[in-house]
């Protein structure tokens, strides 16, 4: 089954991104396909390359990057929401890409299920 994932909140402030990551990881381990993970609202902040969480905490951005590396998961950051919040090509963490909101609608059309995580 093909899943589209929507992440609406940034890392650390809210559990949404962690929940989305755990769901995505489990789905991949079960052999499902992740059509795309779309980061919207403050969720775009997951894609910053500038975060430096303390070493005894998880690194949310790094977790997502690892999924992109190991499973070629398409991590898409909304361009408009990103620009509003200062997420640009200049500080985008490797593994993420910036694109339009249409990518979310496309995920809704192409994926079998869309699962949203937010506040």
């Amino acid at each position: 089954m093909k899943f589209g994932i929507l992440v609406n909140e940034g890392p650390y402030n809210h559990q949404a991104s962690d929940s989305a990551y755990q769901f995505t990881k489990a789905a991949l381990e079960m052999g499902h396909e992740i059509f795309r993970v779309f980061f919207y609202y403050d969720g775009v902040n997951n894609a910053t390359s500038l975060g430096q969480p303390p070493s005894d905490d998880r690194n949310v951005t790094r977790n997502w990057q690892k999924l992109a590396e190991d499973h070629k998961v398409d991590l898409v950051v909304c361009v408009a929401a990103g620009l509003r919040r200062g997420i640009t090509e200049g500080n985008l963490a490797p593994g993420f890409r910036i694109s339009g909101l249409g990518q979310l609608i496309e995920a809704g059309i192409q994926a079998d299920r869309v699962v949203a995580f937010g506040d």
Binding site: Y40, L104, E106
Partner: protein, 126 residues
């Protein structure tokens, strides 16, 4: 493949249940809805709980320094987004009537709204 012409038409519902201005959700849902119009999908908008306040008449956020995006709801018709539903119970709870809303909507009961949601292929709530 042209993503705008997938040939698939799904029933999308954007469920608004948060008030405007206090958080950004209402504004950015609206941006999502406008984009969805380009994909020729069967788009529905639901206003329940505090989401009903998004389409209340008379919003004037100038003094809080925020953008007044409420007129955009009236522009949705021009994008062929005409399926707007408001929950009767939510209106009544807030002391509002259909006359207080800035766009034409279909007022439905909570039970009807639930049945409508059940028909959807994709539901995005914020």
């Amino acid at each position: 493949m042209d993503e705008m012409e997938s040939g698939i038409v799904k029933k999308f519902m954007f469920v608004n249940r948060k008030a405007p201005h206090g958080t950004v959700y209402a504004l950015e849902v609206l941006e999502m809805v406008l984009i969805s119009a380009a994909f020729d999908q069967d788009v529905h908008l639901a206003f329940i709980d505090d989401g009903i306040y998004q389409i209340k008449k008379g919003q004037a956020p100038a003094e809080i320094g925020c953008k007044n995006f409420s007129p955009t709801y009236r522009a949705l018709e021009g994008y062929d987004i005409e399926k707007l539903y408001v929950e009767a119970e939510g209106l009544a709870e807030r002391g509002l009537t259909e006359d207080d809303l800035l766009v034409p909507v279909e007022v439905v009961s909570r039970a009807e709204m639930g049945r409508l949601m059940a028909e959807m292929d994709v539901v995005l709530t914020a």
